[in-house]
């Protein structure tokens, strides 16, 4: 089983399930996961101030199905989740809902079954599904092979996923230069000219001044780092202290991919002591266990 964390919701799902659809919004959205042949799970979230009336919601839903006349619904109650098993003309699904008071959010999980319901898998997924806590001012996201810990006041503004490339960009708002970006790049031998340090230097924005380049080893990874000040325009330089710029990149020896992160903003308190002890991106278990 592999852990996924998206929008503070965590799931443990079979290793071969991949996220094919996602939503960036915090207040309401949907993600869908698929195995190699079809969609297997989707989860929907929506913020509510109070818990909904589940009895009524389920009863209304069931009534709608019965009125449509082509699906049979039976109640289910698994690991604190309430839901329905729906034998429809197109598919067999089980859908469960639960209100998470700590994040004021209703989460709905829909499992899509190719032939029959796997009760053990259902229980396993629902027992482990829940909220990933925000701690020490960072939130945790785990998706597309990366474990990311952006500052909790940043929002996911951009997410681009394509073959051999995933990029998640967290910012205070869409136009702000302040934020953190995480990338995972594959098929590195096909496109990387030179070494990772040169690649990282070449993509450093021209607004970065007083740049310093360093390299260190971390849990079997050779991490290249770049640090400096981000000076965005002459006027801003006069008006306010310019934010710090930091970037890091490495190739993971376990999967051969290149991982990179960039941060523009004030230094985190934890990074004052050992800058490279808290890179908010991990690529593999070796790196994660260090955290």
């Amino acid at each position: 089983m592999r852990e996924w964390i998206w929008r503070h919701f965590r799931f443990e799902l079979p290793d071969d399930w991949e996220m094919l659809q996602y939503s960036r919004r915090l207040d309401a959205g949907r993600c869908a996961m698929a195995d190699r042949y079809q969609y297997r799970l989707e989860f929907n979230w929506k913020e509510f101030d109070t818990a909904p009336d589940f009895d009524r919601t389920l009863s209304d839903y069931r009534h709608d199905l019965e009125r449509a006349g082509d699906a049979k619904a039976t109640s289910e109650h698994v690991a604190g989740w309430r839901g329905l098993r729906v034998d429809g003309p197109d598919a067999l699904t089980t859908r469960f809902g639960r209100y998470f008071k700590e994040v004021k959010c209703l989460l709905e999980v829909v499992l899509i079954w190719p032939d029959k319901v796997d009760a053990d898998l259902t229980r396993s997924i629902l027992e482990r599904a829940g909220v990933a806590p925000v701690a020490n001012g960072v939130s945790t996201w785990r998706a597309f092979g990366m474990t990311m810990q952006p500052a909790s006041d940043l929002k996911l503004q951009r997410c681009e996923v394509e073959p051999a490339r995933a990029m998640l960009d967290f910012r205070r708002n869409r136009d702000s230069p302040l934020g953190e970006t995480f990338e995972r790049l594959g098929m590195v031998d096909h496109w990387l000219k030179g070494d990772v340090g040169q690649w990282l230097t070449a993509r450093t924005p021209r607004q970065v001044r007083d740049a310093q380049h360093g390299t260190h080893h971390r849990d079997g990874h050779q991490v290249h780092e770049f640090a400096g000040r981000y000076i965005d325009g002459r006027l801003k330089r006069l008006l306010a202290r310019s934010p710090d710029y930091g970037s890091a990149a490495w190739r993971c020896p376990h999967d051969g991919r290149l991982y990179a992160m960039t941060r523009i903003g004030r230094k985190r308190p934890s990074s004052n002591t050992q800058a490279h002890d808290h890179t908010p991106l991990a690529c593999c278990l070796a790196m994660e266990h260090r955290k």
């Binding site: 949907r30 869908a32 698929a34 989707e42 839903y61 051999a164 594959g186 051969g256």
Partner: protein
């Protein structure tokens, strides 16, 4: 959330499978001719069908090229070579994913993109082994 989607999940995903597409077997068009240009890269020449409207006197003025040239980079060439008329699309995706250390769906998007481009220009033919709903076979899930 449940009431709004009384019958289907919003992914439109319920029950939809791309398994028939994965079972398709791509094969080289026997009329196409492939040659290596540089190491790992190749060029495919596909004969064009003469359009029905191309008759004299129009054909005296308009003379379309009798062949279409397709240049393939290293990855395209690899996909072309994997399409041997025996492997299914799923087999090709697995091979491609293994060679490049990609996940299944990363490789699927890359491979099916190449295969559909090659099929569109006539270099590949797609052999379906069962009756497939056309929407299922052509739709990428992402």
């Amino acid at each position: 959330m449940m009431r709004r989607d009384a019958r289907k999940s919003r992914a439109g995903a319920t029950g939809r499978t791309w398994r028939p597409m994965l079972r398709t077997v791509p094969a080289h068009n026997q009329a196409a001719h492939a040659s290596d240009t540089q190491p790992g890269q190749s060029r495919i020449v596909v004969p064009r069908r003469r359009p029905n409207w191309l008759v004299p006197p129009v054909s005296w003025i308009i003379r379309p090229r009798p062949t279409r040239d397709v240049q393939l980079d290293r990855l395209g060439t690899r996909v072309w070579r994997l399409c041997n008329g025996h492997r299914t699309v799923e087999n090709i995706i697995d091979a491609f994913a293994g060679e490049h250390r990609l996940t299944f769906h990363e490789a699927r998007i890359a491979v099916t993109g190449h295969i559909s481009d090659l099929a569109r220009c006539g270099a590949l033919v797609l052999v379906m082994h069962e009756q497939v709903d056309s929407d299922e076979s052509s739709t990428s899930p992402t």
